[in-house]
Symmetry: D3
Subunit: 320 residues, 6 copies
């Protein structure tokens, strides 16, 4: 939220300035969105089954994102010989959806409204959770849109249908997504070990056409072949649960699971997917910053989002 | 949960053994409670408006309580020349009420069921939160019982009626209590500074007969005069929000508020109240242990509960 | 940075929204300030002699300030029976002064420019440090203004003239202030124990008319008599080093010093001073949030600033 | 320690309930053990040479183990297409061995008694340390049993004979094991870098037949070939020092050593060993939870123990 | 360990330099001590009954002590108008006694040898623990010296005789001291709440002439009257358990106990005692720095030691 | 700083003793250096652009280095079958360069003086930062020496020429080095992602002959081929920014960057380089210990320095 560029008279070191995402402009009036990307915080964590704290995810990711916002325009990557996210990519920060404690339905409705506003403004919606249940209203906001494929990067399948009446907790979103007519299928990567989804959840998911791969299976395939398993040409919604990553780099999350992805595992899949698919929406969830005093988790989340947005708009620019 | 007493062959240092409250017996079958005190965990924190994490309060307080459980019977206090909580006081741990994420009503119902079970067993219910909303089902569990006065020790008035449909969040419990026919009145101590209760909440509370005192007002009165403001002879339910205390000794909580009570401020009031009133129920809420890496908050909570229970049963023994 | 008021359709819980101070509007263009209060961050910490980290003070204080920003208008204080900081007090957040690493003079110049802009806009400048050296440009920004008295609340005298060439470190600001023609005198409260100021600094300060009181001396006097030592009717600039407070409530600072003020010690002095003096400027420095994982220090800083601003504008309203 | 299964009326989320291992039943009377697995805590850490704190290992691992104890029976692993640790595997928690501070011999004797009790009850003893010296009484408890091979997974050789009179510190256990007639040999995996064992310790170990492999050597071999180096058909006692793992996932330990195993490195070896050998005893040591505020270390320990027990009983079931 | 004084060409900021106590010279050869004060580390913590970690006390207190070591000679205190610990007070750092893990007797013997060396060198021994059991060899080192009184400042009575064979744990030192012919009596201040000493310990202590006062009793008396209870003119050995202090300022300790002393409570007693008694030895124990990420506890310990040494040598100079 | 060797009568566990590097002797008089290696602390962190705190790097690395200093002579590595850093390698600790807060030039001059003193004493200078700007005076100290190649291991290129007047911040050192006639070239390994160096910095670096490789490029080459890219036979100065490593093992740094090196990646390159080149100087920078409560980062830094020094002097011994 500070003018960029050294010419503007500011050195604008990362530790200065108000923490919007990447220090990009804040748009309080959601009817006035005119941007390529609209960032929305969804600080809801009542859907968690172990540690809460993801309500502070949006703030932490915004704070960490400023580390990637030196005063010079765009980020040059020498490996790709590309400058990502220059001035031409217009990113705005919508702030947060309103959360109503003790009321899951209303909180989810408010998140849905935010995503709908982003879509109405023609922007790519990027939602920062909150727990994974916030994916439910994100997907619901696409009601009436053209069908898309969901790419989930996660430790847990999140495919519980209903248990003790719970249908909108953080163990349910992929099941909810699979029920939507506008979701054409799911690719679920990183799934491993014990979770709230029991065997029948896996059976159900597979019955509905899910492609489920563990971390080791993804590594055995490699990023290219993994990305190639997505339906060719399908638009893609990407939902990243930070616990897909190894707790070594993402300990600040509600339900850490060992054996997760390292940074390049995910980066290279995202790069391939962004090159070959239209990305229609993104959420990144389950950053619970207070469980990581080093800040690594928030930095990872911000870095991955920056990378992914860079890939998406680099591909768009390439495709002219 | 280990045999006590050095004669039993164990030194039983605090850091050993399973963490029930005070290492007292666990009673899984709530129809079989036969005890003077029944400890119930209520790990619900979806009612919070700032930091969550009180769901780990019961575990942390139980863990800290073992520090007060050396192998010798009872705790000798040289200031009072009394040995508190000897073998004659039968304390059991009921474990936790079942919590259903995203479902406040069901979670509260389960807490109420636990308190009802404790009461049915003739035990003094002692509930460890969880956020302050868990006081709502605790009070509801006394439906049909003789009226009692509520002593609240807290930074915040918690007297919001309804806002955006929320009636069972952690800003509402004292309002809810005041509505119950079996609650004869409230004394609210430690109230200070900004909170979710606006001016109209204070007006409402006073209109319903609440006696509201700030930390400075309590100190000016002294513990004896403060305790004397409770209606003489009334049975008392005590609800302690750990944020009543100064963040210096209780930083591990959701909404810390500076200027709170120090240890003896509260201890001496509790001692007086226990001497002069029948205590019918206790809850201690809002311990969010992960925000206090020193462990001081949990130790404070356990120490205050041990002290209070000691006072209650010492008074009972005196009164024979 | 979100619309206030429940009527506006948002519950606006503290943990939601972009972190400007108190969620008040951000003014990027410093020539357009039209407000009663202008908040400026001064994230400079190269003046520290022990722990750095105060560069993150502005962010942390802003974040904590949202805890005091529930959706209802103003904060009702039942002890004072007053509602502070209602809609009538127009507060804006200017963001941060630009900092140039390795260049103290340029960084200080940028801070001065910010304070000058606030003054030019007719607003009360409130600067959040950064280390105490940032007080130097803050005072310099008043060049040409009417003389005022400086009230320093601090553990350390900060009266070093020059040592090894250093004149603008965090041990020098009060000396620098005392040299300014527009500073009529200093009252230095809370000073105690060892620091970078040696005996000759105390002698110099007293020779220039400083009134130096320790924590115990202030407590012996009481808040009223302490406040009465300021020159009657003088406009006052207030500089608060968070290490004036006891490390029990403010451990997140560069050079903690035991035996500091507790919350009410300072609160009551500030309330008296605000009632009896025009407050022309405020800075609060040395919050190094990463040294306090509980967040208590940042919350204290935000709470004290909110309290002080409430007192200032309540007094203004009274005086009509 | 709560009834399992959703049919039992509880959702039983991980964060609820008393922390026995996996929420399995507590058996206070060690003469009444009737189970497949008996968990024993051995909270002794006076054998450490750098950071202590492993005395809180048993509590932390029990707490973390509840994350793997959702209400549904058993844990389904989609990679193995197997459900591990269903109701048929009877696990009990014995609580902790009594520890006598300042008295290593007595503390060790009490641990030995616990393991003997588990063995007498026909259960597989699983001991959670405590520092690695607690392996000494664990091995001693097998006196009179059939010979077995020891598989050590560790950063350090722990093969010091005696130094300054110390024979039962955490640098001595493998030497002590190698001296027992009922220990047929050792495989020592993960050994790297500097430790309390000097060159002569390595020479001694090799002279006694130890097979010593570093992390890089194990990786070069792969899990299958590594597992194949154990003597075919030999019963195996597995001792896992958590510092065998990389500090990235196990920083909460006394003497971290960089370059350690990652999760799958160890998992796959354990799976192979469990398939091809009878496992007669297990200990997992050196979890010092207070050095890891993220909780990753305790979660890793619990996860590895759950995995290993799953493999052991899956193999037993396969072999009928 | 750096030359002091700005004339020496160094600014010598606190954060620079090797961490000996106060950056004073290190004396490796204990037969060559020629100083007024000799600092000895006693990093033994196997005597603890709750949290260990006091083994890192000496390092942490040394580190914190450098905060009180600005380049100028001595520390000017404006309240006392005195400069303490100038160049005339010769302080040396002996490093640490050798610790033998698992061997309490040998470790204690090594500590005793260190104190004997300090005494032989004519220096005031100042021992930094380690847990409170290290007071046992400290007192034993005075065997053959003239009798002295022991002033204990502590939360716990530490008067257990023997339990399960333990006689040299951290619950035993005052009992051990009371048995020594060269200890003429004990004053025990700050004692409160539950501990490893049961009622019979209090009876024993009183029978042997101990004067036991709680925090509240000390405060009611005031520092002067409290200090006056020590036998007039008796030489005094001062043992300070950091847990005598309130956990608000000393959370980094093994067994925190709420309701402890604040800084001035202890400071003023120490100042009085130093004025009226010969101080023959000092130990400060139970700083477990890793439980206090803020560093407050270590800073308190260093500050109190600096203050106390200042008082002792100021009194000596006065009495010159 | 304690006598080594068990024969010397001390067990000398790592947690005992004064924290010089490896407990080696402290040399206060820099004109009296007579050693193979001279360790110098450079606790300057005013050059940082995100988190400060590297001023405590030297203390933390020294403290961690004692973990690698068991009483036995040298460290035996079974993988290499070599004992490293035996008594024959004479290492001394020079303490820290004097730092003048707010004065970058003077602080850098003091660091340069320290390195010059080490070189004058014939020792290999090993400088522990501080931020990476301290490399500037380190390289300057070699003025007049024979040309050498610089091997940088880092996440960031640090090749900014000048921006807003800053030429000696932590984004500038490699540019400064490249300007020196006595620097023959640079190999820059680990460079990745966004930093303060924009595209033109890369172009400039390559134009001046830099060989820039990312982590993935290094891994694709392998350690041998990577090391072979250095100019054959050239003397080498090695500068290691700890953020070259993955945040999973080095979170305690100012500007963490995901996707970094793991331990063996760097170890094996260093081993190769040490075998094939004369190493003329070393610095290791950007350890900010307070951001890593686990201590892993400091341990990594100490371990890598120990390893590298071992390789250097092993190679020298081989080459006789």
């Amino acid at each position: 939220m500070s003018g960029h560029g050294y010419d503007g008279g500011r050195l604008n070191l990362p530790f200065t300035g108000i923490c919007t995402f990447g220090k990009r402009p804040y748009v309080a009036d959601w009817t006035q969105i005119d941007a390529d990307v609209a960032i929305l915080g969804a600080p809801f964590d009542a859907g968690t089954q172990w540690r809460a704290g993801a309500r502070f995810g949006p703030r932490a990711v915004r704070d960490a994102s400023t580390l990637f916002s030196f005063g010079h325009a765009g980020a040059y990557d020498h490996e790709d010989d590309a400058t990502y996210l220059g001035e031409d990519v217009r990113i705005v920060d919508m702030g947060d959806a309103d959360i109503v404690h003790t009321d899951t339905l209303q909180s989810h409705a408010n998140i849905r409204a935010g995503v709908e506003a982003a879509l109405a403004g023609g922007a790519l919606p990027v939602v920062i959770g909150g727990d994974h249940s916030i994916n439910i209203p994100c997907i619901e906001a696409f009601e009436g849109h053209a069908p898309f494929h969901v790419l989930q990067i996660d430790a847990h399948l999140d495919f519980v249908d209903e248990r003790h009446g719970v249908t909108r907790g953080h163990g349910n979103p992929m099941r909810r997504a699979s029920e939507k007519p506008w979701v054409s299928g799911l690719t679920q990567l990183g799934i491993r070990n014990v979770s709230s989804t029991a065997k029948e959840g896996y059976d159900d998911a597979r019955a509905r056409g899910s492609d489920i791969l563990s971390v080791r299976q993804v590594r055995a395939l490699g990023p290219e072949a993994t990305a190639a398993r997505l339906p060719k040409g399908a638009p893609v919604y990407i939902t990243i649960d930070i616990d897909a990553f190894c707790p070594s780099i993402a300990p600040g999350t509600g339900t850490p699971s060992h054996g997760g992805f390292l940074y390049y595992d995910v980066l290279e899949i995202l790069q391939k997917v962004a090159q070959n698919h239209q990305v229609v929406g993104i959420d990144l969830v389950e950053v619970a910053p207070d469980y990581d005093p080093t800040g690594s988790t928030s930095i990872l989340a911000a870095q991955v989002l920056m990378n992914l947005l860079g890939f998406v708009f680099h591909a768009r620019a390439q495709q002219g």
